[in-house]
Amino acid sequence: MDLGEINPVLLVASLMVAATPLLLAAIGELVVEKAGVLNLGVEGMMIVGAISGFAISVETGSPWLGFIAAAIGGAVLSLLFVLLTQVALANQVASGLALTLFGLGFSALLGQSYVGIKPPSMGDIHIPLISDIPVIGPILFQHDPILYVGIALTAAVWATLKYTRVGLILRAVGENHDAAHALGYKVIKIRIMAILFGGACAGLGGAYISLIRVPQWTEGMTAGVGWIALALVVFASWKPWRALLGAYLFGGITVLQLNLQAAGVAIPVEYLAMSPYIITILVLVILSADKSSAPASLGRTFHASH
């Protein structure tokens, strides 16, 4: 066992990379749930985003186009959820589960010819001077651009929900859709926009795994990140910065336990592998002891009746 082999700077830098797919998916789902919709199809939208992004960036050679395609792919799949739950008024839980199963199968079909290929690399940003600061530079300022997009998105979602009218209306729709309807807000329209946003975010998160984190395509490569994102939203009490904290905590412990395994720590691998889940849940449960609760209309089908 040699803990000295673990490089703290590399550790912190890689935890941010490990956390980003989770963060992107969780922020998208947070907006969806704030609007009162429970979309359990995050995993499916992520994997479809992963293959869309992978395929397009391999074909065009541009990772940027790949990420745009991933967002569109995720959003298109979420459109299926829109049709089921907002137009046909189907049960959200069942529709979400169906979306995940469909997404996993469909992505495997799309990805058959992409197994074993290496996608074009996005490259990390490098800002002169700032990126060269010892310790801080490699940790904070030498990542790929999408990682910063994730953080910016968190800030944007937080500010939008807290300070803007759009955010207020979104929260109102999620809180009491009948009252929002009575005041003349278009409940269904607002929810559709939120679901599409959530789909796009999940798609980005999936593509982050296939293009940056792992850089390759394998079937089912999201490996449950979508489910963790769903749990994260709940444990983060629907608060964007807490979702960021939870994602980084989860990413951090995942990376740390891999390092510990590599260093040969005398703890059974199984315990190390389960540690990220346990610790993240513990911390977020303690944090969520405050009064904040789920949006009151979460998961309820809205039907405009007079």
């Binding site: 207020l168 809180e175 009491n176 009252a179």
Partner: protein, 505 residues
């Protein structure tokens, strides 16, 4: 003659199977408080929804100050100076007062400015309100203030109020009326929907009465007796429940030192409740909703268990018994919430009859159900209580509120209880059905049943109960004989204006 503010001409709106409004016409003048009266299902709500742009009329026109007016959506109606305070508050519990108000405005100013305007308007109209409090923490009276201030900030020409006083204490009603009178004096017209006739007589200048979607008459409330108005609403002579003179027997139910925490997070704990009900006595329990009514019913029905000695039935401790064991003894309850608590919405009336009747009516043997007997029992309820339904195989949900209420009350009454506890027996029920339910309760008491009637309708309690007590924050006042009790005294028993300051208008 001056042009009326709003003129409705031949408004008609039909839904599949029912004509909600049939050629309704009337005018609302400038600065007039106009009452809209009618039983449940008379079409009052549909009519105001048309004015507010939530529902489009099938035919007919509206004129606002002589100009054609057909709002496609509530925003348009608001832009034209129509504001509405909803019967079921359209508020968002998790948001604060200022955010709630901003949601009801077209172009809300920044939050800081809005907060100071809320303070300013609320002071002017004697409705003090803190813009940054979370709405979920407010009392019913304060929540209504939020709605009213949301309307006032838009400087409305016509304020529509749908059953505004149903959740208020008498003192709170007084504050509201002062505010409405001040608005009238400033030239705002008010369309006031209620079925509380005395209120309409004190407040309103003019009344339109709807029955089955038709305008059946107009009157000047101050010059018409409440009874006449009620009969116009019902379309027939109203029977006042009769209370036979009766002797009270021994104490049937004795509750002493009852304290229980609330099972739900937002509920009210009961604190040291004492009461006794004698055979043949009707005890009325008043109080504003949310002061422990649901918890009291739960404790008496056995849904919430407590120490054995806290509740005694004929001297026998029953505090630890569950609902079925209590039913067997003869303690029956009918909760407030019809769909979901008193009845299972998607089950048939027969099945619902079985749910509470199986023990006393012997509807099961060795775990098998006796469907034929159950169906007979359900038919007996339908027959005896004039429940309007095609038959007992219909789902509880398909009945109108009043009919289902007759069914759930009748179901308990026909089981010949020794003690009957009812919560809001006539809530949302029209005048004729309410009268028959009250009569059934009185008949039961005349046969020697001890009845506890929990209600927010003070008129009802005055009408049927022999003694009156009030619940306030989980505490029950000492019961007093109903005869000779004044509204002021009742208001004080109910806890006054619940910490709301008296209006300084």
């Amino acid at each position: 003659m001056t042009t009326p503010l709003l003129s409705l001409q031949g408004l008609t709106k039909a839904y599949p199977g029912v004509v909600a409004n049939d050629q309704v016409s009337f005018d609302i003048g400038e600065g007039e408080v106009h009452a809209l009266l009618g039983e449940n299902g008379a079409g009052k709500s549909t009519l105001v929804k048309m004015i507010y742009g939530l529902v489009k009329p099938d035919s007919g026109t509206m004129l606002l100050r002589g100009q054609p007016f057909a709002p496609p959506e509530p925003r348009a109606a608001r832009a034209d100076g129509i504001a509405m305070v909803f019967q079921h508050f359209s508020l968002f519990d998790a948001l604060n007062v200022a955010e709630n108000i901003a949601l009801g405005m077209e172009n809300p100013p920044p939050m800081g400015d809005l907060a100071s305007r809320i303070r300013e308007v609320s002071e002017t109209y004697g409705l003090p309100l803190d813009p940054f409090r979370t709405v979920g923490d407010l009392s019913a009276g304060e929540r209504q203030r939020v709605e009213i201030i949301r309307c006032l900030l838009q400087d409305p020409k016509l304020l529509i109020m749908d059953e505004p006083t149903s959740v208020l204490t008498p003192q709170e009603v007084e504050i509201l009326f002062e505010t409405l009178n001040k608005l009238r004096s400033e030239g705002t017209s008010i369309l006031y929907i209620s079925h509380k006739l005395e209120e309409i007589r004190t407040l309103c200048d003019h009344a339109t009465i709807l029955r089955l979607g038709k305008n059946v008459g107009e009157c000047v409330p101050a010059e018409t007796s409440a009874r006449d108005m009620a009969e116009m609403m019902v379309g027939s002579t109203l029977q006042t429940p009769e209370r036979g003179g009766r002797e009270f027997g021994d104490v049937a139910l004795d509750v002493s030192g009852l304290s229980v925490p609330s099972p739900s997070e937002f509920g009210t704990a009961l604190r040291n409740v004492h009461m006794t009900v004698r055979k043949g006595e009707v005890l009325g329990i008043g109080g504003v909703a949310g002061n422990g009514q649901d918890e009291l019913l739960g404790v008496l029905s056995g849904e919430i268990q407590t120490t054995a000695d806290a509740i005694k039935f004929n001297g026998q401790p029953i505090g630890k018994l569950g609902p079925t064991a209590r039913r067997k003894l003869g303690v029956l309850t009918a909760p407030e919430e019809r769909l979901g608590h008193a009845a299972a919405p998607d089950m048939s009336l027969t099945e619902n009859a079985l749910l509470t009747g199986s023990v006393r009516e012997g509807l099961e043997s060795n775990g098998f159900l006796k469907w034929a007997d159950t169906k007979n029992f359900a038919e007996k309820i339908i027959e005896a209580f004039d429940v309007r339904t095609p038959g007992p195989e219909n789902a509880a949900r398909s009945l109108s509120g009043g009919n289902l209420q007759k069914f759930v009350i009748g179901r308990e009454v026909l089981q010949n209880p020794d003690v009957l506890v009812v919560n809001q027996p006539t809530w949302g029920v029209d005048a004729a059905a309410a009268a028959s339910i009250r009569q059934a309760i009185l008949d039961l008491a005349a046969k020697g049943t001890a009845v506890i009637c929990i209600s927010q309708d003070l008129d009802e309690l005055m009408e049927i109960s022999d003694s009156f007590a009030a619940l306030n924050e989980g505490r029950l006042s000492a019961p007093r004989p109903t005869t000779g009790l004044t509204v002021d005294e009742i208001g004080l028993m109910m806890g006054g204006a619940h910490g709301m300051e008296v209006a300084h208008v």
